[in-house]
């Protein structure tokens, strides 16, 4: 376990999952500690996104249990998990396309935590906080643009802002760095560092191994629905199973 703060944040225990009758995850177990950055790596079709769907409740596992901050969340729906503090982005950005960028974030601010009072809706402070989130990801100048008119990378940043607006303690970023230019990658890494400094736990899917491994504390390597290696970055990258999964041998 990396660092001294080894309090458990998320624990998966023997998760099996099916999609259209096919086994896509089998016996997946691992633990993420608080304030850790863990990357999930693996080739195409390894089950990374499925794993995210299971953790956030979009896909019900056929076996196994999940615990978040010590609490069993296996049967909770995605909205309940969001209320508990698990937020996610999607591999292909899913903004509310008819709404402006700031409205997207406002919605997340209001519904992300059930304790947010209804009467604050429309009040200027909700808007201000939404703008703060947009500023953090660097698209505050497009706050009043309809989300469908944003570029792909702006949509992806909007997703991060929206996920952050739900005030999570665990944030799952799906293919966060895919298709970014080198400069954008530096920005993205800076964003991740600033998230870490805010005390968030991060779970990142990275297909290309090139970006997030630089900031990750640990890696979890997945192949064919199984965890093939887990641990410190260097150790996992040199693990024979990982090498063979990537090279296809």
């Amino acid at each position: 376990m990396a660092g001294s703060n080894s309090t458990e944040c998320l624990r998966l225990d023997g998760i099996d999952a099916l999609r259209k009758g096919r086994v896509v995850l089998s016996d997946v177990s691992f633990t993420v500690c608080n304030k850790e950055i863990v990357s999930i790596v693996g080739p195409n079709g390894a089950g990374k996104s499925t794993l995210f769907d299971v953790i956030t409740g979009f896909l019900k596992p056929s076996a196994g249990r999940m615990y978040f901050q010590g609490r069993d969340i296996t049967t909770l729906t995605p909205d309940r998990r969001c209320h508990l503090g698990i937020a996610r982005t999607f591999q292909i950005a899913r903004p509310f396309s008819g709404m402006t960028a700031v409205e997207n974030v406002i919605a997340a601010l209001i519904f992300g935590k059930p304790s947010t009072k209804v009467n604050k809706f429309g009040d200027s402070w909700v808007r201000d906080r939404a703008m703060e989130h947009l500023k953090m990801v660097g698209i505050h100048h497009k706050a009043n643009t309809p989300a469908c008119l944003l570029t792909l990378s702006e949509q992806r940043r909007l997703e991060v802002a929206r996920a952050l607006a739900t005030d999570p303690s665990l944030l799952l970023l799906d293919e966060f760095a895919a298709g970014l230019s080198p400069q954008a990658i530096d920005e993205a890494l800076a964003l991740i560092e600033s998230l870490r400094s805010r005390g968030l736990t991060l779970l990142i899917i990275d297909h290309f191994l090139n970006v997030t491994v630089r900031v990750s504390d640990r890696l979890v390597a997945v192949d064919k629905g199984r965890v093939v290696a887990e641990g410190a970055v260097k150790k996992v990258l040199e693990h024979p199973a990982v090498v063979s999964a990537y090279l296809g041998i």
């Binding site: 995605p78 909205d79 899913r94 509310f96 396309s97 709404m99 209001i110 009467n119 809706f121």
Partner: protein, 312 residues
Amino acid sequence: MKQEVAKATLGVVLIIGLSLLFMWKFQGREDVISVIAMAFLFASVAFAWNIHALSGVVSLGHAAFFGLGAYGSALFAYYFKVGSWIILLVGGTIALGCAVVWHLFFEQLRGGAYTLATFAAAEIVRVVVDNWDSLTMGSSGLTNIVVLFSGTSEFYLVTMVLVIIAFLIHWAALKTCWGLQLRTVREDELAAYAIGVNPPRVRMVSLFVSAFITGLCGAIFVHRVTYLEPSMVFNLHISAMPLVFSFLGGRFTTMGPLIGAFLLYSVDQILLSPFLPSTHQAVYGFAIVITVSFMPNGICAWLARIPQNASG
């Protein structure tokens, strides 16, 4: 938010003001008052339909709710010899029961599949009511149904109150927190789930509210016309009307369905019906085709766009 509340209040004042103005203006013209009252009634159905549609699905089966509300209320009054206003609520509740069944079976359906399913579901309800002779008198119909409204003006006032209630709920479905929830659900269900909205529950609530109001409208309708047969309420026309009114007036405006109902229903009843007694309802079909093809956001948005286009 305060601004929106002010607008809603203005809307209510406007409805009351205009309807009282009509009542005064058309004093003694029972036929006109009656048409306006029916326009109010169907505007309420349109509001109800749109509350459901705002959750992102299109129903072609609201005739089932309307008809069940009508039959439920009429039969309850008949079998239990009740003649008070409570029976209206019975109508609404029976429609709500039907909505529960819809919810159980159609929860997973979206888009075209949902629309087709509602279309077929209305047909199922019609056949059952039509053939369950021992309960519903089947196709021979019911006559001498309890009259709840002593006169046209009373009916007029009741429908006015009804349309105000429907307007307020519809306003809430657009402008309040609930409205924002509905909006996230119809824009992207998975993303809504991810930010802490529960789409199945949001859709369920909108369907139930919609069904209850529609059933209530059906009950009020039947206690005005006082006779009932299956083809009167379980037909495509009743399912089409709220859709037409909402699309015509504008589905995303608080007043849209009411404006649509007023424009189309009164034109239909006052101008077309006397001259084309059997084909006048084709105007609803034309209204669907024209609005969907040329002004997808309704007549208000369309009118608002013209000056913009002209200037550049």
